[in-house]
Subunit: 340 residues, 2 copies
DNA sequence: TCCTCGTCTGCAAACGCTTCCAGAATCCTA
DNA sequence: TAGGATTCTGGAAGCGTTTGCAGACGAGGA
């Protein structure tokens, strides 16, 4: 494995010049630069990132902390982040932080601090003020997807508003009997996504003068089988069946649609269903939904941290950034049929 | 940010002793070790990984090259790899290598070589002999998921055998008119997964004395909408409709089932469907399938590379390792109905 | 012509660790 | 009691870069 010294002697210059030629910092004559590049290429030389970061103090790594990988929302974020980082010459260190408190501490106090990353992107991670202080003390840029988070730039859609928008769409169609299938409030994800979406739903109902009935909210797992299970329950009981269901995520909504189909309940004639996300499967099921773009959220977070790294003085938005979430109308929602 | 020197003077020892105490290498008295640890903790000291790897030559990073993230198979692999690495104190550097040749070269020639990782795990990546040579020349352990790959330990299920098993299951039930919905041979993934599964299908047919008809293989995208689209085509034409369909992946199979449902064709009474993967949704759809466990594949690959790193002399299996893939029977397959 | 300024290059000092080496202290065994 | 083995510690070299500083050179302005 050849070092900078070898390149230097092959090119007939000093180590310093090699370093300058290859990194593009400082003065180097065009002719010298060519010679150095040629020498480096012919030796297959690549700088040692450890040596380099030892002296510069930068690693060219960005740490991403994420609770789940194998789910559309999170996978899309990773894709977006990866793409943006690669483009800018940074590498991605992935930390899959599951619920376990022990793991969390380990990552926070050990891995991240360990001078391994230049910046951190925390996905759906409710960082405590103390942890925030630790992180900020490191002087490393941080950005969060989710939020808001005190002291850290964050971005996300407005969950309350999105849920309200979805519910209002149903109300506008004339539905009055609308159920909400959401996440389990007790098994909360960080940032209370579940309660926020529930809140938006309630607000919309209230706005329309419809009293909120405790029974009209049902919790389940945030995936297709979860939606299916609950769908079977709700729709299986004719007395309980609403004219519309607002599911807190497209996967849940799709589960509900599958349940409806199985019960012979036609969507949207007998039941309207709306979700949130605009999941890739939404189109196949004709699912009306509220679109969000997690991949762009990832890119945006990358942009924030890298800008901070590379443009001294630049600072990201101090407050939480709210992303647009728009209604995508498809064929799973319609006006309720007049009651028989 | 405190360095080893600070810890040393606080504990009243030399840097050398601090290093030994904290890393657990070499002799240190119990009493000294305690004092050093206490000092380190009180200063919030963490070793600089760049400095450390500069002298030791190890980074404690493992690079993972993967073509897709947001798909069950690949996401599961990442989860498995991440879990196994974290457990052993390594960090995961993620490289999402999409089709683009340029990106590929960049990652290979630049990122990986850049003394940033101790080992590489290549997922479904057909590494050329030249690239293999480059990688091996780096002296870094490599493992591949997929394969076989000359000179690199790899693991995967036997795609031909799995496809044969699936098809034979249908044959055993009495089906003779079996179509195969697979990936596009021209838009091949690496390692020719598509053609291998097609081959297993053909072998099974031949074994049963059934001539292979070109029209009985249809290519589509490897996802639910892809399966759905093709399903609609095939099943929509009564003259073309087979009694059974072997889909090369569960997602495709589920798409086919959805198409069948929509056309009022009941599964398994009028149509048997089998897939490969045992995708989380398989159970919901009662899908009979061939199970594989990508997460375990990831863990296994990690085990190989880390063992090589930590147990000098240990070598992974020289040849391709074939993983078991077993039939999981559910309710999407049955004997064909006697023809009217 | 002289001086200044911008361009180019090399020397050498860090960067923060790990580890080789040697010396001191303690322990065991003959 | 002597001698060797074992345990513990510190000094210092070195890992492979980047970068501040200073010197050399040529060009342009006064």
């Amino acid at each position: 494995m050849s070092g900078i010294e070898d390149v230097a002697s092959l090119a007939g210059v000093s180590k310093a010049t090699v370093s300058r030629a290859l990194s593009g910092r400082g003065y180097v004559s065009a002719e010298t630069r060519m010679r150095v590049s040629a020498a480096a290429a012919s030796l297959g030389y690549v700088v040692s990132s450890s040596a380099s970061s030892l002296v510069t103090g930068r690693t060219s790594n960005v740490g991403v902390i994420i609770p789940v990988i194998n789910q559309w929302f999170f996978g899309s974020i990773i894709e977006g982040v990866e793409r943006a980082l690669l483009e800018r010459g940074y590498d991605l260190m992935l930390y899959n932080l599951t619920k376990s408190h022990e793991e969390r501490t380990r990552v926070f106090e050990y891995f991240l601090v360990r001078k391994r990353v230049d910046a951190v992107i925390a996905v759906t991670l409710e960082i405590t003020p103390e942890e925030t202080k630790t992180l900020l003390a490191l002087g490393k840029p941080i950005a969060g997807i989710g939020g808001p988070l005190e002291g850290i730039p964050t971005l996300s859609i407005d969950d309350v508003a999105a849920a309200r928008l979805a519910t209002e769409h149903l109300l506008l169609l004339g539905h009055r009997d609308i159920m909400h299938v959401g996440g389990d409030i007790d098994e909360q994800m960080d940032f209370h996504v579940h309660s926020k979406r529930l809140k938006g739903y309630m607000e919309a109902l209230t706005g329309a003068g419809i009293p909120y009935d405790r029974d009209s909210y049902v919790a389940t797992r945030f995936d297709i089988p979860g939606g299916y299970r609950v769908g079977k329950q709700i729709l299986g009981d004719p007395r309980r069946r609403p004219t519309a269901i607002f599911a807190a995520a497209d996967e849940v909504a799709i589960g509900v649609i599958l349940a409806a189909r199985e019960l012979g309940i036609s969507v949207p004639e007998e039941l309207s269903v709306i979700g949130i996300d605009d999941h890739p499967l939404a189109e196949l099921f004709g699912l009306t939904t509220i679109e969000q773009r997690p991949d762009l959220q990832g890119e945006q977070a990358v942009d924030w941290v890298i800008r901070q790294l590379e443009q001294p003085g630049w600072t990201p938005p101090a407050r939480h950034t709210v992303l647009p979430a728009r209604l995508v109308m498809r064929s799973s929602t319609a006006s309720p049929r007049p009651r028989a």
